[in-house]
Subunit: 69 residues, 6 copies
Amino acid sequence: MRLSARNQIKGTVVEVKKGATTSHIRVDIGSGVIVTSAITNEAVDELGVKAKDHVTVVIKASDVMIGVG
Amino acid sequence: MRLSARNQIKGTVVEVKKGATTSHIRVDIGSGVIVTSAITNEAVDELGVKAKDHVTVVIKASDVMIGVG
Amino acid sequence: MRLSARNQIKGTVVEVKKGATTSHIRVDIGSGVIVTSAITNEAVDELGVKAKDHVTVVIKASDVMIGVG
Amino acid sequence: MRLSARNQIKGTVVEVKKGATTSHIRVDIGSGVIVTSAITNEAVDELGVKAKDHVTVVIKASDVMIGVG
Amino acid sequence: MRLSARNQIKGTVVEVKKGATTSHIRVDIGSGVIVTSAITNEAVDELGVKAKDHVTVVIKASDVMIGVG
Amino acid sequence: MRLSARNQIKGTVVEVKKGATTSHIRVDIGSGVIVTSAITNEAVDELGVKAKDHVTVVIKASDVMIGVG
């Protein structure tokens, strides 16, 4: 499935940290940049996401802010 | 100001494309990865964002999805 | 690509309405329910979305509110 | 209260699953389509949401992505 | 309709600025604080929002970041 | 760092309630208005946010809905 989301960045899972209903996934997208994602535990189980997996980080353009200075 | 947002990635503005009320900013965050941001024209004017500027891309963890396969 | 987003609903595009930088896509997901999506014009062009296309509407669980009464 | 959100879909609560601070609500919106919502436990308690309740699922157009293929 | 959104703040519309598909609404919520909302033109027309109207600003807790310093 | 987010409102932390991975922060922004924010525990620890701290509540315009009536 191709997606409308403007940002689809490939990376490697560094860590999966499960909470009560929400998990935090840390993904290395290269050049030492780590992106953190908060998704449901259900999604983690269904996708079988674990450390060292190759994944795509997906972010809508309207969810990206710009900081200056 | 330090922010709660988990993702704060430094980059360089590649392009600013203004619409009627919303602008699209393309930021090179290294390794050939371009992040697209949709912000208000008002924000673009106020921050004075333009091509070649060094900026920080800010994204909440709950706005980052994971894709597999 | 399989996605972490909890809501992935199949439907048929009813209308694509382009703005200056943002388009509004109306998708019939069955039972007379229409879902409206606001995505970038760039995404519309890249995906080639047009009326009568079969698409999937994708929504994160954390973007869904509940109303009562 | 009438809302600006473009998507307001009626349905019936199928399941309420409470976490530490966040609950997941599953709502049947007809034709076998289930929508999952992640809201605060506080909201669940305040609204008194429980299985079989008739509720409205509320989603902003800018939170709806489109997938193709 | 009562909503799960944790933040529902009453205010008075100061300005409605229409774009091609998106409008910016500025709402005075008291103590000199102005909140800016970006909604679809369609929502503005349907709700009939105009300056001096009494409205409620609605924001999910997961869309609120914290800045320090 | 100056931010593109249209809403940056100063306030005082009233309560920090930690969950398994997500915390809820309640901020008094004046005139008796309390804003609730859901951020990661990690962010709370890193910023050292606690009751009585002076903070800034940051919200994108596209995350603000309007309710009427």
